[in-house]
Symmetry: C2
DNA sequence: GTAAGATATGCACATATGCTCATATATTGA
DNA sequence: TCAATATATGAGCATATGTGCATATCTTAC
C-alpha cells in the first residue's frame, strides 16, 4: 500500500486519498477500509447530483447558445430566439430549465422577459469548455 | 438601436455584439442584419457541438465520480469501480466514452489499464462546478 | 374591455442515453 | 497451452430529454 502521487494538489481535498497498489486484495478488510476512506473524500452524492445538474444544463447546444449569448449581457427571449436560431417554444422551455437550475435569472420589462447569467461561474465554465474544445485537435 | 452593456468583457469575443433594443421590428432588413451580425460572434456550430460533448461527458454521476476520483491521480479500472461503487461494465463503458471525448487517457500496466485525466481543464471544470453547486443554497 | 405582442407551459413523440447481461479480448503465471 | 484475473464491448431495455404544436398567461395600447 503506497502513498498516491498527486497531480493537482489543491482541487477538492481529494488529494489526501490513500489507495493501495492494485486490485488483488479488494475483499480484504484493510483494503476495503482504504477504499471506503477514498470514497469518503469524493464529493457526496448530493453534491455530485447538483454538479451533474449544472453540467447537464450546459450539455445541450440550444442551452449553450443561449448562455453564450448572455455572456455579453442580458437579452430578451425573442432576441435569443433570433441569435440562437431556435423556436420561441424551445427557447422558453430551455430558459425555464436554466432558471430552475439557477444558471440564469429573469426580470420583467414591459411585455418582455429579460434574462441574464446568474453568476460568473457560468461564463467561466463556458470559457474553459471552449478552451478545451479548441486546444485539442480532438 | 443601442450599444450593449457588457458584463464580462474578455470572455469569448462575444462582447462586441450590437443588438437593437427590442423585438418589435425583427423582420426589418436592418434588424435582421444586426441579428445576423450578433449570431456571427457566437461560437460556431462546430465549437458549440464540441463543447456540449465535453459538458455532457461531465453530466452524469458515474462519469463525474470517475473523473473526481482521478483528480487525485491515476487509478485502474477496478479501483474506480470500488471508489465510485458502480459495476465493472458501467465503469468500462463510461471510460470509453471519456477517452473518446478526450477527457481521460489510459495506459496498460500489466493486466491493468490505468487512467488519468487528459489535462487540467477537466479538474478546473469540476472544481468550478462544485463551487457553483455549494455556493448557492440552490 | 378588447386586441395584439411577448412569453410560458402541457402534451405527445422521437431520439438519446445509461445500465445490465453475456461474452470477447488481453495479460500473467504455471 | 490453460486457467485466472482484468478489462472491453455488443445487444437490448428502460428511462430521460429536446422539440413542435397548441394554447394559456401576461402586458401594453386603444
Amino acid at each position: 500500500m503506497i502513498n498516491r502521487r498527486f497531480s493537482d494538489g489543491d482541487s477538492v481535498a481529494l488529494a489526501d486519498v490513500l489507495v493501495g497498489d492494485c486490485c488483488e486484495d479488494v475483499s480484504s478488510p484493510e483494503r476495503l477500509g482504504d477504499i471506503i476512506g477514498a470514497e469518503a473524500v469524493l464529493p457526496g452524492d448530493d453534491v455530485i447530483y447538483k454538479v451533474t445538474e449544472i453540467f447537464s444544463a450546459l450539455a445541450d447546444s440550444t442551452r449553450l447558445k443561449i448562455l453564450s449569448s448572455l455572456i455579453g449581457g442580458e437579452l430578451c427571449v425573442c432576441e435569443m430566439q433570433e441569435v440562437c436560431d431556435v423556436s420561441q417554444s424551445a427557447v422558453s422551455h430551455q430558459l425555464r430549465l436554466l432558471r430552475d437550475r439557477g444558471l440564469v435569472r429573469s426580470r420583467r420589462d414591459g411585455q418582455r422577459s429579460v434574462y441574464r447569467l446568474a453568476d460568473d461561474h457560468v461564463s467561466q465554465l463556458i470559457r474553459i469548455g471552449i478552451e478545451h474544445a479548441v486546444e485539442e485537435g480532438r
